[in-house]
């Protein structure tokens, strides 16, 4: 054997050894890729935790039923290990440690809510484990230089930006300069809602709009009558509200009760607060920010169109999918695509593949910037029309025309 052959031989052995190490590291049992997630099965997020889990499960089942994912020429199925984080950050972080150290999970799916995601990311970063998350929208998740975090959803500051753009558009078509518009804001004092507020303020400033009310609702808000009375007296052109489901439910109930007349009302969380079911006609004309809608024209080859996903989901779980379920399913599709392109299971290879993601899913286009957030998908804006959510903005995906301005209460 010549020296040269010896070296290549040695190199090959070392390389094989290295490959052996990577496969041992990667959590693949036989022909099954194991993902892990801490999701709220109990506690205050348990409803949305259920939507999240249903989304993950549906995508996994669908992919498995289609024969699995082919990685490096071999077909693999997927499986998810779940633990209940009890809607508590500290518990979420513990469970992430457990998934990584005891269950040897090498690919994580996100929990529900920005708060839980914030608690878990430091753990996944420490062990350099990729996490694709679908329910942590807070802008602050993407300013800390995390390398292994990828989010398929639009971040919080984009939530209501399209409402401001829409108001400006309406003002222009009525022959008014958008800088004459007066905006009232009522945002809960929590990181997520404040992120949404920052986005709205940036946009309002860009159009030169004047902010006439800027209320921070206490976190344990139970009554909004004070700020709404102020809004009623000041008579702004737009009222923007964000305070999770509770804020949405409270705002619609009390705006109707107090007869606050405002031409445009935009908010977050209408659908998770189920305002149509709760208030019927009182919720009409409200604009609601949403990550996704079944009427959008996105497609993929796993679920088909957005509408197809809604049908499949409804047939399986008996209720129409909220966007929390849709984005969760999309996170699994992103993993499947990344495994396929990586052609191997080393976490660094998978991470690189995730970072290079560029795909369309039923949920929307997905492309991550260097901070890991999806920059290819806009938020959509619903309006409640005749007891249904209709997409009214952005114009490209609008299925209905916006009803504007909202008539006064004595004319409704």
């Amino acid at each position: 054997m010549t020296k040269f052959e010896l070296t290549t031989g040695l190199l090959a052995t070392v390389a094989m050894g290295a490959m052996g190490v990577t496969t041992a590291q990667a959590k693949v049992e036989g022909d099954t890729i194991v993902l892990g997630a801490a999701v709220s099965k109990s506690g205050k997020y348990s409803t949305n935790g259920k939507h999240t889990m249903n989304g993950y499960n549906l995508a996994v089942e669908r992919l498995n039923a289609m024969g699995g994912i082919s990685v490096g020429g071999k077909k693999y199925k997927m499986r998810v290990i779940y633990y209940d984080d009890e809607s508590r950050g500290a518990r979420g972080a513990q469970l992430a440690e457990r998934l990584i150290n005891q269950d040897k999970v090498r690919y994580m799916l996100g929990p529900y809510s920005s708060g839980l995601t914030k608690a878990i990311v430091p753990v996944t970063e420490k062990y350099k484990i990729p996490m694709v998350e679908a329910n942590g929208a807070s802008r602050s998740l993407f300013t800390k230089g995390y390398k292994y975090l990828f989010a398929v959803l639009s971040t919080s500051e984009q939530y209501l930006a399209s409402a401001i753009a829409l108001a400006a558009e309406k003002a222009r078509s009525a022959g008014r300069n958008p800088n004459t518009l007066r905006v009232a804001l009522a945002f809960e004092n929590d990181p997520f809602s404040q992120d949404v507020r920052a986005g709205v303020i940036d946009d309002a400033k860009r159009y030169g709009m004047k902010i006439v009310v800027d209320g921070r609702l206490p976190r344990d808000l139970s009554d909004m009558k004070g700020i709404l009375q102020k809004v009623k007296l000041i008579k702004p052109d737009i009222l923007v509200v964000s305070g999770h489901s509770k804020g949405a439910a409270l705002a619609i109930r009390q705006i109707a009760a107090l007869r606050v007349n405002v031409p445009m009302l935009a908010m977050t969380h209408c659908d998770s607060a189920q305002v149509i079911k709760k208030y019927g006609k009182k919720s009409e004309y409200t604009l609601c920010a949403s990550q996704w809608a079944p009427s959008l024209s996105y497609k993929d080859n796993v679920f088909g169109s957005a509408g197809d996903f809604a049908k499949i989901f409804k047939a399986k779980y008996g209720y129409a999918p909220p966007y929390q379920a849709a984005e969760s399913a999309a996170a699994v599709l992103v993993y499947a695509d990344a495994f396929r392109r990586a052609g191997a299971f080393g976490t660094d290879k998978v991470r690189a593949a995730l970072a290079a993601t560029k795909m369309q899913t039923f949920y929307g286009n997905i492309r991550f910037d260097s901070s890991g957030k999806n920059v290819a998908k806009p938020m959509v804006l619903f309006q409640i029309q005749d007891g249904q959510y209709k997409v009214v903005a952005p114009t490209k995906w609008a299925s209905s025309k916006i009803r504007f301005p909202t008539p006064r209460w004595d004319k409704r």
Binding site: G43, S222, D223, K225, I227, L250, A257, R259
Partner: protein
């Protein structure tokens, strides 16, 4: 701040609306505080599960006012409920909560009546966690409202605005006043009420006079839960409820009792209503962000004032 005062000065109807709204929500808080004051005064227990009883009552209002079906396959049980007006829950919730209160007394509270306050705080905090998790599991983890179409009463319609008062808040105010009145008559003029007051003054002496203190305690504690249940119905009809939002009401009722001063029943109602109205006006004048700070500041001021007065009169030496 000055522009906010100007705004209210230019819109007296709006200011009035604000005050009336505050009074009405304050009346509901006063009901809860009334119960807390009762338990505190009679049994020397600060009941930290106050808010959870409120939320429980709210959930009952929700289930009374919506249609639902329950099927338990194992025993072939199938119930369907058509959903009736939420106000019926004002009858149901106090009854159910009275029973729950009684049950908790018999299982937990009787063990801690004569213990130090720290033990009772721990125990009632435990009950509150238990109830939270129970409601979260059995009911839902959603924000819930009791639907009703009682609408808004409009008056004073001028071009500057109108007075818009929710009818259900009027009901709440009237209900709170009636309950307050009935309770004070009950405490003063019935044998049972007198027994409660006797035990509050001196449990040992009352027992020597043949009063069964244990039964009085049970009744007091159950009565408190019933009051909270009724308040919960009104809260589900005016605001929203969630299994984990009970703490707001516990804290608020605690503040009201402190401001009113222990053992001052009329004071509780006045403080509850005044705090409600003051908070609403303060919210507009100094901004929503400082709403909580205002209430806490007021509490601090009252405590300081009391401390100073006490020091000057040296009453504690008496």
């Amino acid at each position: 701040m000055i522009e906010n005062i100007q705004l209210l000065a230019q819109n007296p109807v709006g200011l009035l609306n604000l005050i009336i709204d505050g009074i009405m929500i304050g009346a509901i808080f006063a009901l809860i505080a009334y119960g807390m004051a009762l338990v505190w005064g009679v049994m020397n227990i600060i009941n930290l599960s106050q808010g959870e009883y409120v939320i429980f009552g709210g959930f009952l209002a929700f289930y009374v006012s919506t249609s639902w079906e329950l099927q338990i396959g194992a025993i072939g049980l199938s119930i369907s409920w058509p959903g009736i007006h939420a106000l019926w829950a004002l009858l149901l919730a106090p009854l159910v909560l009275y029973l729950i209160g009684w049950l908790f007394y018999r299982v937990v509270i009787f063990r801690i009546v004569n213990r130090d306050m720290f033990t009772s705080i721990l125990a009632t905090f435990g009950i509150s966690i238990l109830l939270q998790q129970f409601m979260n599991g059995v009911f839902t983890a959603d924000d819930v409202v009791a639907r009703h179409d009682m609408g808004t009463w409009l008056a004073w319609r001028t071009d500057v605005g109108e007075l818009a008062i929710e009818r259900v808040r009027m009901v709440a105010l009237v209900f709170a006043l009636i309950v307050g009145g009935v309770l004070s008559v009950y405490l003063k003029h019935t044998r049972d009420g007198q027994a409660i007051r006797a035990v509050a003054q001196n449990a040992r002496a009352a027992e020597l006079m043949g009063i069964d203190a244990d039964r009085v305690y049970a009744r007091t504690y159950a009565l408190n839960a019933a009051l909270c249940g009724a308040a919960g119905v009104l809260i589900a009809m005016t605001l929203t409820i969630h299994a984990f939002t009970g703490l707001i009401y516990t804290v608020r009722s605690f503040m009201i009792v402190i401001i009113a001063g222990l053992g001052n029943v009329t004071g509780v109602i006045v403080a509850g209503i005044g705090l409600g109205a003051g908070e609403k006006v303060a919210e507009v004048v100094i901004g929503t962000s400082y709403q909580v700070a205002f209430v806490t500041g007021l509490l601090l001021a009252v405590l300081l004032y009391r401390g100073i007065r006490l020091a000057m009169q040296r009453k504690y030496l008496a």
